[in-house]
Symmetry: C2
Subunit: 262 residues, 2 copies
DNA sequence: CAGTGGTCTAGACCACTGG
DNA sequence: CAGTGGTCTAGACCACTGC
């Protein structure tokens, strides 16, 4: 294989040959990573499926196995792919994940999230409306664009614990209804994958302590003055494209938000 | 180099040769990683210093450069080492880190943590006492063991924002005083490194929404009924040994706790 | 048993840093 | 310029999975 500076054979993106101040050098494996990412976005391999073996990909991209490996390593580190020794490399999915909710960091105080069983879910509302300025900004839309708003309550052991409002861009989620949300069993992000081809890849949360208003008090069944965790999440698909804004209120008397630092 | 199952030459730990049900296979690079970790714990290389080059380590452990590389890669991913191309690999430190507080996730609402400048710090209290049952359990001590308790307030733009109580095991932190804490400029964990040979490597936080009591209201200058973020942190040194319990109250009207999910 | 990912090696060369 | 980490290759072998 040609190893001259900044090329990757036929398949990869050639670098700049001219003497730039910043040659924008990008290693081969990064270019391969980009190509694999494109295939993931394009839907060539679907969530849960196996991607071609390292040897096959090496042949396809005219690159050594080691270079493909390093590309896949990074994608696996980003939770976009999952490696399983002896079986293959698979496209990550929010379904069939042994942890029910990959992005939910609220856990019961006695660390045993198994014993409390799955959450009970109730869709309170699901309507289509025009995006306000802040919703639009968060989702990368224009004010007035069509968005879907969903309000739901999650209960653990029959105790309402989470009240969530979420906003989705109208176009990619055309056809999403309260019925569909109610019928579906499993993580909401799994439904997004199978029904709308939207894969949530990463998210960012902003957390505050707040007091509930009247409506929120009623839905969560708490008294005025009960402090709640306000969790605002923006979830992204590939290419850092925002695809969901979520505003959650968490009751933290029997649960807590758990975070690891390193 | 001998590549027979589960050996790593002279330096590494030999595996089990007998036909066990679980042969406890551990790859060479993992064993090398363990050896490097031992040297880090033992203080052979101090925080901020460079460790030997990959070639030197390869020679020392009788292993190829690639194997050392993979070991260092994982340690760097765990934030224990920092690679700098052309210069060397360095022991991570809480000092000289361009981000002032590596473990503090509270940021101003206008993302610009530069403009507000460094935090003002005030040590309210620093005393030695006997560990209560819950403090002892969190720190892996016995009830009644000597612990150091520190209470301090952090202010941003002259506004009290964080009230923290922290408990440290008495023995490793012998000689820590309020004066020392007040004089020192820089992250507290950096002082722990240089003065007490304690390196905080990772931490776990449990977050809740709470209301302040009388004393807390006074120290933070907030009214009764103001919701606050309660952040309980346990920080660990090497070997998952707990070395600090910290209970913080964060004011979240101008700041928020920021978290990335993936 | 074949096929997959995982480990390990040896060697070449590249990009970056500092004297 | 020498020394460091970073990339890439080709090939061998190991551990795990499923038929």
């Amino acid at each position: 294989m040609n190893t001259s500076t900044n090329t990757a054979g036929d398949a990869a993106i050639a670098g700049t040959d001219t003497a730039n101040a910043t040659p924008a050098f990008s290693p081969l494996y990064q270019q391969i990573k980009g190509l694999i990412l494109q295939s993931l976005q394009g839907g060539e391999w679907r969530p849960g499926e196996a991607i071609p073996s390292e040897m096959e990909l090496a042949a396809r991209y005219r690159v050594s196995q080691g270079t493909v490996r390093k590309a896949i390593d990074e994608l696996a580190a980003d939770n976009l792919l999952i490696r399983r020794q002896g079986k293959g490399t698979f496209v990550a999915t929010h379904a069939e994940h042994h942890v029910q909710y990959r992005f939910l960091k609220l856990v019961p105080d006695n660390g045993d999230s198994q014993s409390e069983g799955p959450a009970q879910r109730e869709i309170v509302e699901c309507k289509r409306l025009r995006a306000s300025a802040d919703i639009a900004r968060a989702l990368g839309l224009r004010t007035g664009d069509s968005v879907l708003q969903v309000r739901r309550v999650l209960s653990f052991a029959n105790r309402p614990t989470i009240l969530e409002d979420l906003w989705l861009p109208g176009t990619p989620f055309k056809g999403l209804t309260a019925e569909r949300l109610t019928q579906y069993h499993g993580p909401m992000y799994a439904l997004f994958e199978t029904e709308f081809d939207v894969r949530m890849v990463r998210a960012e949360e902003h957390i505050r302590a707040v007091l509930p208003d009247e409506a929120q008090m009623k839905l969560l069944g708490v008294a005025a003055g009960t402090p709640l965790l306000s969790v605002e999440r923006i979830a992204y698909t590939y290419n850092d494209m925002p695809m969901e804004l979520r505003r959650g209120l968490y009751l933290t008397d029997t649960h807590h938000y758990r975070n690891e630092l390193s």
